[in-house]
Amino acid sequence: MNVLVCISCVPDTTSKISFIDNKSFNSDGIQFIIGPYEDYALARAVELKESNSDIDISVINVGNETTEPILRKALAIGADRAFRINLEPKDSISVAKYLKKFIQENSFDLILMGKESIDYNSGIVHHLVGAMLNITSFSPVTFLDFDGDSTIIKRETDTGIEKIKTKLPLVLGCQEPIAEWKIPNMRGIMNARSKELKVLDYDEVDSVISFDNYNVPTKKEEVKFFDKDDINGLIDELKLKNI
């Protein structure tokens, strides 16, 4: 079974976000990581491979050469091979088009992504790829396992959780608690050095969306403290009794 894990390269969750002249992201001093949701997706793929050696895991990222350390990390965690589409990930639709082309040229039974990337938070690339390829997509998925020919997943709906029986191929947007994050061990890191990391040069697609002016919201007013013996002061301030 061929599994593809699509990963984003994003600033660490503790990063202080800033921009250069409101035009581009300031990556000075920023540690980049595998998106936390894709980290869950990758961890689940590796767990499945641990119990089924027929599973082959490819990871892919759309980005320039600065994203290679996170692809190496994915290889160290347990992916078999890595691909990098050598283009800037400008918006969800163009990323989805690049992934569509890659998936069409190769063959995958299961395509795992995070439910969203934590930089632009669109949360739609999985469904876009599913729609483009006419493959069933689910997100956010909190459980994934196989039962004979069937695939069992749990997805969050807006009112609860559904347990679903379906069939491959599938595109899934993953979320905790689908797996525990994995930390690469020394053997994994050594093995990753000899695994394939292939760079793909695709033609850039046209986009009608341009991101033009970035802002970091200014801090709101200073916190107003109430003494713990002045609960009514807080209640009056918030007009809680009118709720």
Partner: protein
């Protein structure tokens, strides 16, 4: 311009997020249409008061191909959805089928020039960006709670779309577990949230009591759901649910940056923590330094 709003229901009535979406659409469109697969004609015919001119009733909103013609046949310029799991699926499919751009987390009203220009929150609320579109048509997925709900004096026309019943489902639902409680976390006006400061799951009754009095939803921090004290669907934060209620109570939560990423769109944040140096106070609107086990019962008592 003409807008088509996807309507979401909670039980039998329109969700506040959908009412906001209709109010939002009325700010920059001449006509606002709705689309739903809830076929309650009596209720739908009252929604002119919410700002709808026309409602299309279809069989199944997830069967996008069955109703996609509505967009072209009615000269729809923009499609508006609230942020939720189903809307991400629907909007992505429409985007692919009609080759329309799609913008998530829209946080302001689009400008009405020849080019569409709109703001969107990014980096989990830590930043925002102005997006310019070189397309006249677009799909907007709205961040929650960005406009007030307004009343309108419109007469709504209902149109049922008959389509051949087709089994489009490529899957079978084995089991559905609905979240307990009446108030959905993402829709709640008030959220009462607690963290490790509460020491154990057995101490959550006071959180639930406060939530009940305030007609609020309950939430928790990641360490709490990781420890199994509370279910995962209550976890708000960077890797959990992102919320934007009018009032957010954070009880015994230190305020790690990952937690803030999920709640920083809240209108008012109230932090209760016995550590005066807890980082959360820096992002709070109101703070009480004190032991949660002392402060929370006092609030409950004062509200009773």
């Amino acid at each position: 311009m003409i807008s088509l709003v996807f309507l979401d229901f909670n039980k039998d009535s329109l969700k506040d997020s959908s009412k906001q979406a209709i109010s939002f659409s009325n700010l920059f469109n001449e006509k606002v249409y709705g689309i739903t697969d809830v076929n309650d004609k009596d209720y739908l015919s009252t929604l002119g008061a919410n700002g709808l001119d026309k409602i299309f009733v279809v069989k199944n909103l997830e069967d996008i191909k069955s109703y996609i013609d509505i967009v072209e046949n009615n000269k729809v310029d923009n499609i508006i959805l609230s942020t939720n799991n189903r809307s991400k699926f629907i909007s992505s499919n429409i985007s692919v089928f009609l080759d329309m751009p799609i913008i998530s987390n829209v946080s302001g009203v689009p400008s009405k020039t020849d080019k569409i220009s709109v703001n969107s929150t990014i980096f989990s609320g830590k930043a925002d960006v102005t997006i310019n579109l070189s397309s006249k048509k677009s799909i907007f997925i709205l961040a929650n709670n960005i406009v007030d709900i307004k009343d309108f004096d419109k007469k709504v026309e209902l149109l049922s779309l008959n389509s051949d019943e087709q089994d489009i489902k490529s899957y079978e639902i084995l089991e559905t577990n609905n979240i307990e409680g009446d108030i959905l976390l993402t829709e709640a006006n008030v959220v009462v949230s607690a963290g490790r400061g509460l020491k154990g799951p057995e101490n959550w009754s006071m959180v639930e009591d406060l939530a009940k009095i305030l007609n609020a939803a309950t939430a928790c921090s990641k360490p709490v759901s990781d420890a199994g004290w509370r279910p995962h669907h209550e976890h708000v934060g960077q890797t959990g649910i992102k919320i934007s209620p009018n009032i957010y109570f954070a009880i015994g939560i230190s305020g790690a940056i990952q937690h803030l990423a999920g709640v920083n769109s809240s209108k008012k944040i109230i932090v209760i923590n016995n550590d005066p140096d807890a980082p959360f106070f820096k992002s709070a609107d109101y703070g009480i330094v004190g032991d949660a086990f002392e402060v929370v019962p006092k609030i409950i008592e004062a509200l009773k």
